[in-house]
């Protein structure tokens, strides 16, 4: 009798309410009246399980749900407990929507990402290593070639811009950047000497590297005496030393580095321009010529090259 009442109320509720809830309730009510399909224990137990989620009017009054006639919308999971069958299927569906399937998908994506990154990293590392090896080989080859050319093997004896005699021996133990030029040079020598100054300043900043000694040797001993050199070098790096001497001394030094120098025709002032090799030479602390830099190399490239030479330098 009570159940019939409920069914009627349920129908009313259906019109305005949640279909699922009411149909669920209807179903449960009918289940109650018929034989219970649950396999667990006595008939009383499942009933209570079913009914605990509903309005207490239909069947046992359980302290769990002191709600109104219609009760709250019964969440199927609340009645999970020991139940199986259609309910468990439903709950399974619920968990599937946010459950293990997406987490495995996430794991798979993560693993794939990690594997790709590792692989990519490995490739990059290998490429970088091979590139470094190649560069090193290149450098060693170049050094071998330049050693064969064997510039700067001889000795020189010149006067510096303060009038002191200097020989090649005086500069052993330091890295030397050597430039041949003349003070009456219109633009090239000042530019190259500015470049040398910039290189030396850059390398000075790195305390781990030994100091580089810049040298300027004149190819115009007729005009470039000690005083002229002194006036000239002070416009450049403070450590720059100017070197001059008699024409013979200067010729010996130039020949050592196979420097070409040819004074041009004199004009009415007696002024002339000396055509000469425009190169900056790098000499290591053992007095060996290691490298040269032409007009195309800027100060950054030269500094980098010197740094590499210093790093790979092995004392004889």
């Amino acid at each position: 009798m009570l159940c019939l009442e409920r069914r009627m109320l349920g129908l009313v509720g259906f019109i305005g309410g949640d279909l699922h809830a009411t149909s669920g309730r209807l179903l449960r009510c009918t289940v109650r009246s018929s034989a219970v399909q649950q396999s667990s224990g006595s008939t009383h137990h499942p009933q209570r399980v079913w009914l605990s989620s509903q309005a207490p009017l239909c069947g046992h009054h359980t302290p769990k749900h002191r709600t109104g006639l219609y009760g709250p919308f019964t969440h199927p999971q609340q009645t999970l407990g020991s139940s199986r069958g259609p309910l468990s299927l439903f709950t399974q569906r619920v968990t599937l929507s946010q459950g293990p399937n997406t987490s495995t998908a996430k794991i798979r994506l993560r693993t794939r990402l990690v594997v790709t990154l590792l692989f990519g990293g490995g490739l990059l590392g290998t490429w970088w290593y091979v590139r470094n090896e190649k560069q090193q080989n290149h450098r060693m080859q170049r050094i071998e070639q330049l050693k064969k050319v064997a510039l700067g093997q001889g000795d020189f004896s010149l006067l510096d811009h303060r009038g002191h005699r200097r020989t090649k021996r005086d500069f052993l133990g330091s890295w030397v950047l050597l430039y041949f030029g003349f003070t009456h040079c219109p633009d090239i020598c000042p530019e190259e000497l500015d470049k040398v100054s910039a290189v030396v300043s850059t390398l000075d900043k790195d305390r781990s590297l030994p100091a580089v000694q810049p040298l300027f040797v004149t190819v115009d001993p007729e005009r470039d005496n000690v005083a002229a050199l002194e006036r000239y070098v002070k416009d450049f790096h403070p450590r720059l030393i100017g070197l001059t001497g008699t024409p013979e001394e200067v010729k010996v030094a130039g020949k050592d580095y196979r420097v070409y120098a040819s004074p041009g025709p004199k004009d009415e002032d007696g002024d002339y321009i000396v055509d000469h090799t425009i190169l900056i030479y790098l000499v290591n602390p053992d007095g060996l010529f290691l490298d040269y830099y032409n007009r195309m190399k800027d100060d950054v490239q030269i500094a980098e090259s010197i740094r590499n030479h210093m790093k790979s330098y092995v004392k004889l």
């Binding site: 219109p186 000239y232 002032d269 002024d271 002339y272 321009i273």
Partner: protein
């Protein structure tokens, strides 16, 4: 005659640059740039004037080669045998 010092060099280069800019603007018409020419010659030693003038000629020639193309000169003509 002592070599120009750093300031004198810079003054000379400045005057040269002014002159070259004027010549560039006037399609190398030397007449319109006489003022700069005089300034240039006053700031620089004679040898440098000559040197920079030749340099400009060379740069213009190089530019022409690069833009207009280059026609190799005819080799020695075949001798009539």
């Amino acid at each position: 005659m002592s070599a120009p010092n750093s300031n004198q060099r810079k003054a000379c280069w400045g005057a040269r640059d002014e002159l070259w800019k004027c010549l560039d603007d006037n399609q190398d018409n030397a007449a319109s740039c006489e003022k700069f020419q005089k300034e240039f010659e006053a700031s620089c030693p004679a040898q440098w004037v000559k040197y920079f003038t030749k340099r400009r000629d060379f740069l213009k020639y190089k530019e022409k080669m690069q833009t207009e193309g280059f026609e190799p000169a005819d080799g020695p003509k075949e001798s009539q045998s």
